[in-house]
């Protein structure tokens, strides 16, 4: 698989490779992976994918995924209305 990069993308890769003292290919592969993870985290934040799907995409357990989300401070997609609905149910079960 090959891909054509524009001038700005090449500049970013070269800059990061210099900063990290890594090869350009290695930096590019890492950026693709991080970009993919970022995209998945955004999808989770918007409520487009579930916690289980996110943990699968990140190849982590649910516990590890919760730790990552906590570290990044990504807000849960649970809404205030959900909290209010849950408040009605909890008294029936506990």
């Amino acid at each position: 698989m090959s891909a054509r990069l524009d001038e700005e993308e090449r500049r970013l890769i070269e800059k990061l490779a210099r900063q990290e003292k890594k090869g350009k290919g290695e930096v590019m592969r890492e950026l693709i992976k991080y970009g993919y993870y970022y995209l998945m985290l955004q999808k989770y934040r918007k409520g487009e994918i579930s916690l289980e799907k996110l943990s699968q995409e990140l190849s982590l357990t649910i516990s590890e995924t919760l730790d990552i989300l906590e570290g990044l401070g990504i807000t849960s997609p649970v809404e205030y209305e959900d909290y209010l609905k849950g408040s009605e149910f909890i008294k029936k079960i506990f």
């Binding site: 916690l51 799907k53 516990s63 959900d82 079960i93």
Partner: protein
């Protein structure tokens, strides 16, 4: 009895409230949830949950996986999350989940749902936790559960405004 999804089970284990809840509520989980929640044996929460299962405080209940697979085809959820929804639906009981998309599907299917935050607040209201401990656990759950600030403020003021239990 309440069916627990992995998200709420682990969140309550992380803030060390799960055992208190087990004493008050019959907790059911699917084998798929058990497997995931206890997968990394070196994790505190995994070991904690494992012990509660071994002591019979959390019950493992199977469902037909085909039913979960059918549900998974219709919604953007994982198969494990679907097993919890099916178990709650079949037993006409509530689902404890802290996952937004799972809550949406629970609403569609008419399954009552609660989150870890509801258990914390209720444990305080029932006098199982002192105000100081409840507020400390709320600070911890705020990070683990990453609820939006409106929800957290609401719960914090409920605990702060009520007299000591």
């Amino acid at each position: 009895m309440v069916v627990f999804d992995t998200s709420t089970l682990i969140s309550l284990a992380k803030i060390e409230l799960l055992e208190d809840i087990c004493k008050e509520v019959e907790i059911w989980i699917t084998p798929e949830v058990e497997k995931e929640a206890t997968r990394k044996k070196e994790f505190f929460d995994a070991r904690f949950i494992k012990r509660l299962i071994q002591e019979g405080k959390i019950k493992i209940v199977k469902i037909e996986r085909e039913k979960a697979r059918k549900l998974k085809k219709e919604f953007p959820l994982g198969e494990r999350e679907c097993t919890s929804l099916v178990l709650a639906w079949e037993n006409k009981t509530a689902l404890a989940t802290d996952d937004g998309p799972t809550i949406k599907v629970a609403k569609i299917c008419g399954i009552p749902f609660v989150t870890a935050l509801h258990f914390l607040l209720r444990a305080y209201e029932k006098g199982l936790l002192s105000k100081e401990v409840a507020l400390w656990k709320l600070r911890r759950l705020e990070k683990v559960g990453r609820y939006n600030s409106t929800i957290i403020q609401r719960v914090r003021s409920k605990i702060s405004e009520e007299g000591e239990k």
